[in-house]
Amino acid sequence: MTNGLLSVAIFLPLVGAIIIALLPASPKLIKNLASFFALVALGIGLFLFFNFESAGGLQFETRVPWIPQIGAYYHIGLDGLNLHLFLLTLILGFLVTLISRDINERVKEHFVWLLVLETSILGVFSSLDLLLFYVFWEIEVIPMYFLISIWGSGRKHYSAIKYVIYTLFGSVFMLVGILSLSISSGTFDVTEIAAMDSSLLSQVLPLSTTFLCLLIGFAVKLPVFPLHTWLPDAHTDAPTSASVMLAGALIKMGGYGMIRVCLGLLPEMAEKYAPILLSLAVVNVVYGAAVTLRQTDIKRLIAYSSISHMGFVLLGIFALGEVSLVGAELQMFSHGMITGLLFAITGIIIHNTHEREISKFGGLAHQMPLASTIFIIGGIGAMGVPTTSGFISEFLTFFGAFSAGARIYTIISLLGILLAAGYILWLIQRVFFGPLRPELASSPDIKPLEVFYCAVFIFFIFLIGLYPTFLVDIIRPAVGLLIG
């Protein structure tokens, strides 16, 4: 019974999307319906979360033949590698229906695409079949394209197309990798391929080629330098809801794919290419932070900071240590909440002040004290200050990576937290401190609903920061099995 619930949680948003699409409903009803479906899905997700046996391996599995001729199954399930990411997506999926409530243009389509997006990301995180994984991965591009190009701002068409082309570029490689794996093994099932001897997997392409093809697909998403330039454009020009989904959940598909597919199926190759990827991780961290410091648009600055923070994830993954992987997994959840919060509150600030150039802000803490406090809390998380989730996930990543032998990489990456303090505090100073700019004097502070959804982010930031066992106990056994 609980196994079927996983499918329900995945497809409920899609069902909601179809109902909303077909129903002639008022904008208000559409918004309520969307929140309702996302909330029920979240409820099911929480039910699964609390019924999860932390040392029990894969759970809530469904495995039925899908295209039996080629060994493709509808195979889904959750373990410590994806449960928290699944939950993260459900939380964000619900919150973005609240964040989008002030959308007044083409309301129906907006919520349809948001819900489709949620299902596709949920599908990616829970698929245990490479073909199914790929299909969900591709579907995700469509709603995101429309969300950016219709409800976005700035160069929204450029950014949307760029996002699509970048992703498709990565997907082509990924598809080659997937096909190479499954043709060699005769199945798309991740658990079956993982159980095979790797010498059997090189019948189509050499293992290293397969590995790199898969990796490119994931590297575009995470993103990894030099494949990252879609991210600032897409995040900046997307509407708030899509930015939150992008930064919060979507880019984690890259990190998750690296762990589940690259590491889970081709561990020897992961070890072989680890030095290169660790070097790229360091570049991500330091270069990303350096470029972040030069940004003049508030949203773009936060977007660039994601590149630096995803560098920590890459470091944790390819240090290949048990603790470092726990750190990377935790960092993905943590970053989802922290950056989700930062994009949400930034969206509110831009909406209320009609301004996004950092140099045009100043003294906003007088005018919007609540919004400023919330932003500063998010900033504290992004700087990795203790008691926030940012600290413990970064600490575990650094400690894990260092103790797994990636010493120099870890030491250089530590510079990332120094630079993070630089860009976050400088941003806070320029936007919120100093005397209030007269142009901003009529901006209203945030509304109760906005406070509510920000509070949810904040709750999770401190929950993980103060009680990381909550997720670590789930992640650790799965990571142990993965690299055991």
Binding site: Q69, I70, I142, G186, A290, R294, F399, A421, G434
Partner: protein, 649 residues
């Protein structure tokens, strides 16, 4: 009494923070004093409990607090727990006591401030975090609270955030100390990796038994020292502390004089066995000895009373480092203990005159001794104590440091010159502020409220007597030192080092008296004679300028970071856009090819290409028709995938 009481010492101020923010701030908007009463009451209980712990430790009771498993990582874990020993007990008393007095003082000082609730909430959070830092039995938690006190410091320096200088100083403080934290975090990670534990007691045993040694221990102590130098504002990371004076003055007294800035000294004392068995104890002494004289030179020329005190704090923290490096834990910590009282008092005194005159510029003061007799008396006592005048508290701990430095002549003479500078700059402040005639413009100057005066009087009493704590070696004994030299209250005057430093201090005071009171020598004349030095000192050796203008602004932000940023935009993204353009070119070619060659052959296919071209044009406008195209595209991708697979299999 059980040792678990220590958790209460920690929890009460945190509770105060939560209650003020969650309940008092929203519910008691018109009655802000409720917050201060709560903070004072809970900190007061924490202080009493700390005192009981100190008495317990002093009487040799075996107090322990069982730790709590916080995070299990398989082979290793992280526990939350507390150490209760002499060092912790002393620090807890200092922290809670100064915090209590500063909060009482703040009732008067912060009266009428619109953000009164926020102020007391943050002071409570700071107090709890500082207690957590002190008691932590695990380096992980020590580091966590270390960062939290840094955050509180940031939020309190920037308390009046509408002042650009305050906002800037807050940022500077956090980032500069984080440079040091980079080293500390590295050391924590290195120790955790190498030993599998962050339990401070276990690390002590590993270091003393020789299991933790060699380059690991050396690097770890270097990292810890970096952290300590950042927090305790030692050269070259001292630049943030003078700027931090932008915060409310009681905060300067609590955080930037008595407690948080001393955390670096505490950290080295806490990890002392590691330093003892590493080659780096000498570096601690050198850093401290140099910083002591270096900061004192800048204190000579500042005109802002708080800036003088800030440089003086840096200098005195340098003394503590010197004491730790040359003498041992009790030498360094004894000065920390005494310094906490007289330096907190000096800041509260500066706050009192600043409150009365609305300025901290001593050129706008003068003659305040008559108007503010209590503040004047307290300030002079603290200044005498800081200058090291017998038999006040500063004399005793400074004497121990200077005696311990006598093995290293260079450090010894540097310390001695610092004594002279210290006495001079403090009495320069005393005379410029309190004697002569008033040079400012404010009328009706009067003594501060009693809630400000009473804490000063209490601290003044301690500034006189706290040094007697170690007369019978009680203080050193408390810190676990067995062969303690006892010093009689009169005997000490037969020690040559004590006599010399006392004479040097008196000479400094006399020179200040000659210049700023009697004006036998003119200050302007002195400035002219020592003009190169005066410029060097008053420009802070151009170090701030170097960091801010050259290193950060020109080299990093507008140099390296700008380069990366342009590289990102024009090279990487340029390549991406270039590739896209090239691809478009190929498509255009195909399109022509299609149009003229294929189209000529098969009209139907040409028609299809046209419709593709049409929908491509719609990509730019986000038309509805594209929805369908995309869905079709998705289905095509899936079908093709399956097809390819089937064909290949």
């Amino acid at each position: 009494m059980s040792g678990e009481v220590v958790y209460l010492v920690f929890a009460l101020p945190i509770l105060s923070f939560i209650i003020i923010l969650a309940f008092l701030r929203p519910l008691f908007k018109g009655r802000p004093k409720v917050s201060s009463y709560l903070g004072i009451a809970l900190t007061g209980i924490s202080f009493v409990l700390s005192l009981l712990l100190l008495l317990g430790v002093y009487s040799g009771k075996d107090l322990a607090a069982s730790p709590l498993l916080w995070l299990n990582l398989g082979n290793v874990d992280i526990k939350f727990g507390a150490i209760i020993d002499g060092l912790v007990a002393i620090m807890l008393v200092v922290v809670t006591f100064i915090s209590l007095l500063v909060q009482i003082y703040s009732v008067g000082y912060m009266r009428g401030d619109p953000a009164y609730h926020r102020y007391f909430a943050l002071v409570s959070l700071f107090t709890g975090s500082m207690v957590g830092l002190v008691m932590a039995s695990n380096l992980f938690w020590l580091f966590a609270f270390w960062e939290l006190v840094g955050l509180c410091s940031y939020l309190l320096i920037g308390f009046w955030f509408d002042r650009p200088a305050a906002a800037n100083a807050a940022k500077k403080a956090f980032i500069v100390t984080r440079v040091g934290d980079f080293g500390l975090l590295g050391a924590v990670i290195l120790l955790f990796t190498q030993t599998g534990t962050l339990d401070i007691g276990s690390l002590h045993i590993l270091a003393t038994s020789g299991a933790l040694a060699g380059s690991v221990l050396s690097w770890a102590t270097i990292g810890i020292l970096m952290g300590a130098m950042g927090k305790s504002a030692q050269f070259p990371l001292h630049v943030w502390l003078p700027d931090a004076m932008e915060g409310p003055t009681p905060v300067s007294a609590l955080i930037h004089a008595a407690t948080m800035v001393a955390a670096g000294v505490f950290l080295i004392a806490r990890m002392y066995p590691l330093f003892e068995y590493s080659p780096n104890l000498k570096i601690v002494a050198i850093v401290g000895g140099f910083t002591a004289i270096f900061a004192a030179t800048m204190a000579l020329v500042m005109n802002d009373i708080k800036k003088v005190l800030a440089y003086s704090t840096i200098s005195q923290l340098g003394y503590m480092f010197l004491g730790l490096g040359m003498g041992g834990v009790s030498v360094g910590i004894f000065h920390l203990f005494n310094h906490a009282f007289f330096k907190a008092l000096l800041f509260l005194g500066a706050g009192s005159v600043g409150h009365a005159t609305n300025t901290f510029d001593m050129r706008q003061m003068g003659g305040l001794g008559k108007k503010m007799p209590w503040t004047f008396a307290c300030f002079v006592i603290a200044s005498l104590s800081l200058a090291g005048i017998y038999p006040l508290s500063g004399f005793w701990s400074k004497d121990e440091i200077i005696s311990s430095a006598s093995e290293e002549p260079v450090l010894f003479y540097m310390a001695l010159v610092t004594v002279f500078f210290t006495a001079f700059y403090m009495f320069r402040v005393v005379f410029m502020t309190f004697s002569g005639s008033y040079r400012g413009e404010k009328e009706h100057l009067h003594e501060s409220h009693k809630e400000m005066v009473i804490p000063m009087v209490i601290l003044a009493v301690l500034s006189v007597f706290s040094g007697f704590f170690n007369l019978n070696g009680g203080f050193a004994h408390l810190l676990g030192e067995t062969d303690v030299e006892t010093m009689g209250i009169f005997e000490v005057l037969s020690h040559p080092a004590a006599i010399i430093s006392l004479l040097v201090a008196l000479l400094g005071i006399f020179l200040a008296y000659a210049v700023y009171k009697k004006q036998w020598l003119s200050a302007a004349g002195l400035t002219r004679v020592f003009y190169p030095f005066y410029t060097l000192f008053s420009k802070k050796y151009w170090i701030d300028t170097f960091y801010e203008d050259i290193l950060v602004r020109r080299f990093l932000v507008n140099g390296v970071f700008e380069f990366f940023s342009l590289f990102d935009r024009y090279v990487i993204d340029g390549l991406v856009n270039g590739a896209a353009k090239a691809a478009t070119g190929v498509f255009v070619f195909f399109n022509y090819f299609d149009h003229y060659v294929v189209d000529g052959l098969v009209n139907g296919i040409g028609g299809a290409a046209k419709s593709v071209g049409k929908s491509l044009r719609h990509l730019e406008t986000g038309q509805l028709q594209l929805y369908g195209a995309f869905i079709v595209l998705g289905i095509v991708v899936i079908v093709m995938t399956i097809f390819i697979v089937e064909v290949l299999v």
